[in-house]
């Protein structure tokens, strides 16, 4: 029974990780870049919810209504200015630029808001949970996050497969030159993909700030979780991301069950094992690796 509880909490954690990871996966799929400041964007979103949203006299639970659209806009702007410039140089530059950005963001948060952890106050909701049996509790918040993750992934999937813009995103992702020949403005498409990525990661950051807490340096750990989720699930597979997140969550809970110190290590080990045995991930295609 105790193992079932480990698995349930791991699956719930997987919702968080999938939310963190889908933006990273999308940006890699479309632009072939890894945004090393991805995790920091979640932290900035959390800080925005903590420090900016109260100024609008909105209950903090609803902060995502402001922060997510704001981050969608920010994603478009950052892509069209900073990221586009570095993509035009070469793939190298994007790594250096986003890493630099990550360090700058973390230290700016540290200087402005001190090293203290921050969280979004959601009142009594944080403690409410659904008791399945004596050992298994499902917190409403974690369950909501998991449902949100599934809805977001489903909506993304629908958006990519059904809408005109989604088709263009897939076209650019498959073959940029051919898409351009057919009249697609690839820079605009990059902007849209990036804005989706920023919006989802903002949602993840807010969920994290609600459930636990965020600190200036949490961005690095967030990026690692998102990255491990993407690689375990399979590069370029959205539903793989969900499964990858759940597997990562289960592995971490499994490690934490023995010793709290082993929580992160167990996740890393699962990642390294997947990398050794099946580098394209569980649901990935080999072609996506290059």
């Amino acid at each position: 029974m105790i193992w079932l509880s480990v698995i349930v909490s791991g699956v719930l954690l997987g919702g968080f990780y999938a939310l963190f990871a889908c933006g990273l996966s999308l940006m890699f799929g479309v632009m072939k870049i890894i945004n090393l400041a991805h995790g920091d964007m979640a932290v900035v979103a959390g800080y925005t919810a903590v420090f900016l949203v109260p100024k609008f006299h909105l209950p903090e639970v609803w902060s995502f209504l402001i922060v997510v659209p704001l981050f969608a806009l920010l994603g478009y702007v950052v892509q069209r200015t900073l990221f586009q410039k570095s993509i035009e140089r070469d793939p190298f530059t994007t790594l250096l630029v986003t890493f630099g950005l990550s360090v700058v963001i973390e230290n700016l948060l540290l200087e402005i808001y001190t090293a203290n952890a921050q969280s979004i106050n959601i009142g009594s909701l944080i403690a409410k949970s659904w008791q399945v049996n004596q050992t298994i509790y499902i917190s409403y918040l974690s369950l909501t996050v998991l449902i949100v993750a599934v809805v977001v992934l489903g909506a993304l999937q629908l958006f990519l497969s059904k809408t005109n813009t989604g088709r263009q995103i897939r076209a650019v992702s498959d073959d940029r030159e051919a898409a351009m020949l057919c009249g697609t403005n690839y820079r605009h498409i990059f902007g849209i993909a990036s804005s989706l990525a920023f919006a989802t990661v903002a949602l993840a950051g807010i969920a994290q700030a609600m459930a636990t807490s965020i600190a200036p340096y949490s961005g690095g750990a967030n990026l690692l979780f998102a990255f491990e989720t993407v690689v375990i699930g399979g590069i370029g597979s959205l539903w793989g991301t969900l499964v990858g997140g759940m597997l990562l969550g289960i592995a971490q809970q499994f490690g934490a069950h023995f010793n709290n110190q082993y929580q992160l290590l167990a996740g890393n080990i699962l990642f390294l094992v997947v990398l050794a045995i099946r580098p394209q991930g569980l649901f990935g295609k080999k072609a996506a690796m290059s």
Binding site: F28, K32, I33, I34, L36, L82, K85, S86, I87, E88, R89, D90, P91, F92, T93, T94, L95, L96, V97, F99, G100, L101, V103, V104, N107, L108, L110, E111, R176, E177, M180, Y186, G220, L223, L224, F227, E228, V231, I235, N259, Q261, Y262, L264, L265, N268, I269, F271, L272, L275, A276, P279, M289, S290
Partner: protein, 368 residues
């Protein structure tokens, strides 16, 4: 007018490496070596400490430059080997060895660990490789942090230094940092002038072409990764002695990766001189902003981002390409009648990687 005047004569073309006569370079190097070896006796103790930290960063930046600037591997997990080097030194010191003697052993430990790690990491490319190096560093930190022998997360004092007086310890640590830095820079220079340097520059210009000409690309990359791991291990060992309280959060800090990356980026990737110049700039900035918390890192990072976008050759690359001048050349220049001195004909960083503005870059499938 005879026929001979009309036919092109076989013009003499010479290929040269050095612009400055080698004797001058060596003399300059000798002066620097004497000065920095003498430094602890003529400079105040605070300056010696700054110089020591400077040399530790020079080691790291030179190694990172070798990895990213020459071999194209953007690692953000080099703090892994800094930490492992520090902890290997700690291990040997606890076992009763003189920490200074343990430095070369720590280097060997890092190289040995790096070898199998490459087999995992080399399955990934580009950005995925970068984050995977970080995962490896994170795992190493977590594993070391869970070993009670090393004091777990709280850390451990490096034994074996108490018999030295404060002054002697300071001098010895400085000299260790300086000699390791000197060795690392000279060894990197020799490595890049060797066949391996040639392979690296050919891979950077066109990987497919160099593979098809028989260059052993993967094994060269592997060697470079191991060398960089060993170098960072040496930096970590010296760092451990200089601190000398060793903690996972400190030795495996991502900040090391940030500093070595920014320093080589600003100074100029793909040059020997650049990372050293970047370290000088870093320390000037850090010392002048030392009362303002982390602002030095914010400014340094912002400048590095700007350099990466607008001036990817870095400061030394700019000097080199503008004035056709190199202190420590690794390539050759073609000089002869009719051929203008083209600066360098050997390694040109980012060539072939940088598309013109009008055309978007094409991801050529990197054949693994």
């Amino acid at each position: 007018m005879s026929v001979e005047d009309l036919t092109p004569v076989d013009q003499a073309i010479t290929v040269k490496r050095n612009q400055i006569p080698v004797a001058y370079t060596l003399a300059g190097a000798a002066v620097l070596v004497v000065f920095f070896t003498w430094a602890p006796w003529i400079l105040p103790a605070s300056a010696v400490t700054i110089l020591m930290n400077f040399f530790i960063l020079v080691i790291m930046a030179t190694m990172w430059n070798l990895l990213a600037g020459y071999a194209g591997m953007v690692s953000i997990g080099q703090q892994c080997f800094i930490g492992l080097g520090a902890y290997a030194t700690l291990y040997f010191a606890i076992k009763g060895m003189d920490p200074f003697v343990a430095i070369p052993l720590a280097v060997v430990v890092c190289a040995v660990i790096a070898y199998p790690v490459t087999y995992l990491l080399f399955r990934l490319r580009g950005g995925y490789f970068s984050v995977a190096t970080w995962v490896v560093a994170d795992s190493a930190m977590l594993i070391i942090g869970s070993i009670a022998f090393f004091g777990g997360g709280t850390g451990h004092y490096l034994p074996g230094l108490t018999n030295l007086s404060f002054k002697v310890l300071g001098h010895d640590t400085y000299l260790a940092a300086w000699f390791v830095a000197l060795f690392v820079v000279v060894a990197t220079y020799i490595l890049l002038r060797s066949r391996m340097g040639l392979v690296l520059s050919s891979v950077r210009d066109n990987e497919v072409a160099s593979r098809s000409s028989g260059a052993k690309v993967t094994s060269t990359r592997r060697t470079i990764f191991i060398v960089a791991a060993a170098g960072c291990g040496a930096a970590g060992a010296v760092l451990a002695i200089s601190q000398p309280f060793i903690q996972t959060g400190n030795e495996f800090n991502l900040q090391w990766a940030a500093e070595m990356l920014f320093a080589s980026m600003i100074g100029g990737l793909g040059t020997i001189e650049g990372p050293i110049l970047g370290c000088v700039i870093f320390f000037v900035l850090q010392q002048s902003l030392q009362n303002y918390g982390a602002w030095y890192l914010i400014i340094f990072g912002a400048v590095a981002v700007g350099v990466a976008i607008w001036q990817p050759r870095g400061i030394w690359g700019f000097i080199r390409d503008t004035f056709h001048f190199e202190l420590l050349p690794v390539g050759y220049r073609v000089i002869g009648a009719g051929v203008r001195d083209q600066g360098r004909a050997g390694i040109s960083p980012w060539r072939g990687l940088r598309p013109t503005k009008s055309t978007p870059p094409i991801e050529d499938a990197d054949s693994p």
